[in-house]
């Protein structure tokens, strides 16, 4: 019977959300194609996680090794290529995360199987594999077919699939496999984790956030939006380019590589709505977006949209709010 591999992603003893998202999608694929669902867990002292995973897969392949104590893509590559060559899974699923993007392309090239990255959907069409991925910052979707192969690999976008528990635990069987890592990995060595610097403002605690993006154009325009945030009793947050330019500190960044926020109000000004940003704010109670471009993806995640130059909307908005507040006072 055909097999589908899911690489369990974990960090500091914790299985990460993406693992359960991948397992959910993989379960659907396995049911449709009558394949066996196997999850692969590499690490050191991972018994607890392995047990947890038995609820989600028919088989849990566990490889324990000192050298797998922290993520090292070269170590992972050696172990996984051994397992994939041996089991020949029809499909191997890896997360499109920082770990996954370092590992998957090199692994696929090393084994010689085709890979599609950052997929938001995957389906077998006969023995062909079709994927859906986004291009041009989420403005266009592409359906693509992978080159014919007996074994395929994909990386799945974070939060593209909602993690669900199987209706009944799958009572998977744990299969402990001896580590094929005979030698030290000398190419690459993990040193330590570096925590983000402690921030002055905790945007995750704010009830109102005014999020600014590249549409703000110039650092000199920051006071304007700062004032709007103040009128609303909120604080400024931002997309990544604003932090990259050094206009706001990194603790203000919303998104996959920043913070996840859920304020009562999120006002997005000049933000296009790339998924890495959207993942960090889409669960806000009320989202109002201002963007010049009517096709900006942000509008698909907002309650209210304003297609206009933010510099025309922000000043009257700020004034009206201040007026109202002074009337009340």
């Amino acid at each position: 019977m055909a097999e589908i591999f899911v690489l369990a992603e974990h960090r500091q003893g914790q299985l990460r959300d993406i693992t359960f998202e991948m397992l959910t999608k993989a379960r659907e694929l396995a049911e449709k194609t009558n394949a066996e669902l196997t999850t692969v867990l590499l690490g050191k002292n991972v018994k607890e996680s392995a047990k947890n995973l038995t609820e989600y897969a028919k088989k849990v392949i566990v490889v324990e090794d000192e050298k797998l104590g922290s993520f090292n893509s070269d170590a992972y590559l050696k172990v996984l290529s051994t397992l994939i060559k041996e089991h020949k899974p029809a499909l191997t699923i890896i997360g499109h995360t920082s770990y996954g993007v370092e590992l998957a392309p090199r692994l696929a090239a090393a084994i010689g199987i085709p890979l599609a990255t950052d997929c938001i959907d995957v389906a077998f069409e006969g023995d062909a594999l079709a994927v859906t991925r986004q291009m041009y910052g989420g403005k266009v979707n592409a359906k693509a077919i992978l080159r014919k192969s007996e074994s395929y690999m994909v990386t799945l976008r974070q939060a593209a699939f909602q993690a669900q528990k199987p209706t009944a635990p799958m009572n998977g069987q744990i299969l402990e496999v001896p580590s094929p890592l005979t030698e030290e990995i000398t190419t690459k060595r993990f040193i330590e984790y570096v925590l983000p610097p402690p921030g002055g403002v905790d945007i995750t605690a704010a009830e109102v956030l005014v999020g600014i993006g590249r549409g703000i154009k110039d650092q000199a325009n920051l006071p304007l939006v700062e004032e709007l945030a103040k009128s609303l009793g909120g604080v400024l947050a931002c997309s990544r380019p604003i932090v990259d330019k050094g206009w706001l500190p990194s603790d203000r960044q919303v998104g996959t590589s920043g913070k996840t926020v859920k304020p009562k109000l999120y006002v997005a000004l000049g933000i296009s709505g790339a998924f890495q940003h959207v993942l960090g704010m889409k669960n806000s109670d009320l989202i109002i977006a201002v963007n010049k471009d009517p096709k900006a993806p942000i509008f698909s995640f907002s309650d209210y949209g304003v297609v206009e130059d933010l510099f025309k909307v922000v000043p009257p908005l700020k004034n009206k709010i201040n007026e109202l507040k002074s009337q009340k006072a």
């Binding site: 693509a144 040193i191 907002s302």
Partner: protein
């Protein structure tokens, strides 16, 4: 330090209206403004800074059509010493995997201590070329790199994980690093730089110069074949507020009031 930087010219699409062309597999390119891929801009800056600190050379290399010269000129103006453009009708339709093979065919003949790529290209967003190129060359790599400290025969790099967390790794040189935005602040190009760059030569190479055969490049040498492009279905369409900026502001205030937010 001899550094090779892989750069791609991509259309500026954040503010542009995109149209899918008649084939249904590509976007209409006319009317779009092209520039260096955002991530590669940071990679190039990092390479130039390394050269300024340690000496050596910077070579910018691209697989792309003739008009990619404007991106290569920008690299030269910023401080790259050499530029190579790989252009051939047979390269068309190459995905990230085929592109990595084309880059490999040339880079394997060159001396380098370091290769820098962007973390991803803004158009296809594959994040594939760097790590595959490293595999083909048999050198170590790190992806999502936010900081590079070079030492004797090795580098210590910070890799970006999720949620603001990073990890520090020691990597043996020569190596390939795929850099993430924010690693530095790319400099502006001086008029002098642009003038000087106009005099530098861009080396052009074709399929016949790569030692690859036709089937290894283009669509036949790719992992992925695009079947169709389409506008993403909308999950939750915003209600658009119409009117003059003043009227819009009033409407927003009403919404906020009704929700008890002001």
């Amino acid at each position: 330090m001899d550094v090779i930087v892989c750069v791609k010219q991509v259309p500026e699409t954040a503010e542009a209206e995109l149209k899918i062309d008649a084939s249904g597999k590509k976007i209409e390119k006319t009317g779009l403004v092209f520039d260096i891929n955002e991530w590669d801009d940071y990679a190039l800056e990092e390479a130039v800074r390394i050269k300024e600190k340690f000496g050596g050379t910077v070579t910018a290399i691209t697989v792309g059509p003739e008009d990619s010269d404007s991106t290569l000129r920008k690299c030269l103006a910023r401080g790259a010493d050499k530029a190579i453009r790989l252009t051939d009708p047979k390269f068309e339709g190459s995905d990230a995997f085929a592109t990595a093979k084309i880059l490999h065919s040339v880079i394997k003949t060159m001396h380098f201590d370091l290769i820098l790529t962007g973390a991803q290209a803004g158009d296809d967003g594959s994040a594939v070329v760097g790590p595959v190129l490293a595999e083909l060359l048999g050198v170590p790599h790190a992806a999502m790199v936010k900081k590079i400290e070079l030492g004797e025969g090795k580098a210590v790099v910070n890799r970006e994980l999720e949620g603001g967390l990073e990890e520090r790794l020691e990597v043996k040189l020569p190596a390939l690093f795929a850099v993430q935005t924010g690693i530095n602040e790319p400099r502006y190009v001086s008029i002098m730089g642009i003038r000087k760059a106009m005099q530098k030569e861009i080396k052009v190479m074709r399929l016949s110069d790569t030692g690859l055969n036709e089937s290894e490049v283009g669509e036949s040498g790719s992992w992925l074949k695009i079947e169709k492009l389409y506008v993403p279905p909308v999950e939750k369409q915003a209600e658009f507020l119409q009117g003059s900026p003043d009227e819009i502001a009033t409407k927003i205030v009403e919404i906020l009031k009704s929700r008890g937010l002001i």
